[in-house]
Symmetry: C2
């Protein structure tokens, strides 16, 4: 199915948008799931907006009928997983500053970047962090023990801006149009619902 | 969560479009799943096109990026479930004649209508039945032991035409914008991926 034979221990890729409720739920489980298969996870926050321009989608929360369903469904999943879930008044934010900040932090420490991503997701879906506001993101970084000056400088850095743009392009080129999106080698899986299929794929080696 | 307390044995509703690959896969398992909970299934073929006008969607197979993914994903599910899957050259058909024929048959026998739906799905996704062609549908009905004259007359019957239109409106009013779509009482579930959640919902009574 895949062009290349993937290494058995190759990390799986986890692409997500910081405004994606389903991405948030996937983020809660993906590392444990990967670990059961001796895998690590490469976290790849990106902006879905670029893909939406191609697919003509407007985002769940901006689409009639889908918005109501997504709201019901996210709360239903939150109850199932026993996590808090409060859609912020500024939802869906365009999480460009948060996404850039992730890659700023990742330059020095992947572990720190992943910790940052988890904190951002939890705060956004507790309704208390506007991921689209650069000032808030810097303050949030400081409050959580990250280097605020580095984040403040980094999110205006041309290299970081270009990196986020490039990742948006890479997503499109690899056919990524939704969040969460998981790659096991070249094999793509779209959606929170598919974590179980990814699990099965990792168990069996694919079919 | 639901407005009314549903009866424990209330049938579950299965809404689907005859051109929906995910609907097809759901149709293979939904009755066995419902039966495990002492439930029956009400089959509700409808035309997704009306909802698409509201959500702005164009259908998976007409959407860039999504079309390629859906094709890969359908074949992946077919391999998993060990069923044939051949996307017909006329995909996605607007399955109006097939949908009308279902309701013609259902007037006399729900069991026959469900048998017809299963045959239509299997033939369409074997690439050998154009569900959008009234003549083909009548011939298909005859070949499979249904009353061809009744189907031929019925699919032009104003009452049947209106019934299919009404169901499209009902779908919208109830927030149905995708296929497959399952209702357990008032609780909506969208997508093939969610059969397992429906199963869990039926087991637990909801959460």
């Amino acid at each position: 199915m895949t062009a290349a034979t993937p290494s058995a221990n190759e990390p799986i890729e986890f692409w997500f948008d910081f405004s994606s409720g389903y991405g948030y739920f996937a983020s809660l489980d993906i590392e444990a799931m990967a670990a059961r298969h001796g895998r690590t996870v490469v976290w790849r926050p990106f902006l879905l907006g670029t893909a939406f321009k191609i697919t003509g989608a407007t985002g769940l929360s901006r689409t009639p009928l889908k918005a109501e369903y997504a709201d019901l469904d996210w709360h239903r999943i939150a109850r199932l997983k026993k996590v808090d879930f409060t859609l912020p008044p500024f939802h869906p934010a365009t999480a460009l500053p948060a996404t850039r900040a992730f890659y700023v932090i990742e330059r020095k420490s992947v572990t720190d970047a992943v910790r940052f991503a988890k904190l951002v997701y939890a705060a956004y879906f507790a309704g208390r962090l506007n991921t689209g506001d650069g000032g808030e993101i810097v303050k949030f970084a400081v409050d959580n023990g990250f280097d605020g000056e580095e984040v403040a400088t980094g999110i205006s850095d041309d290299n970081i801006k270009q990196r986020v743009r490039d990742l948006g392009e890479t997503a499109i080129q690899r056919g990524v149009f939704g969040s969460p999106w998981i790659f096991v080698g070249a094999e793509p899986f779209w959606g929170w619902d598919r974590l179980r299929m990814v699990d099965e794929w990792l168990t069996t080696g694919g079919w």
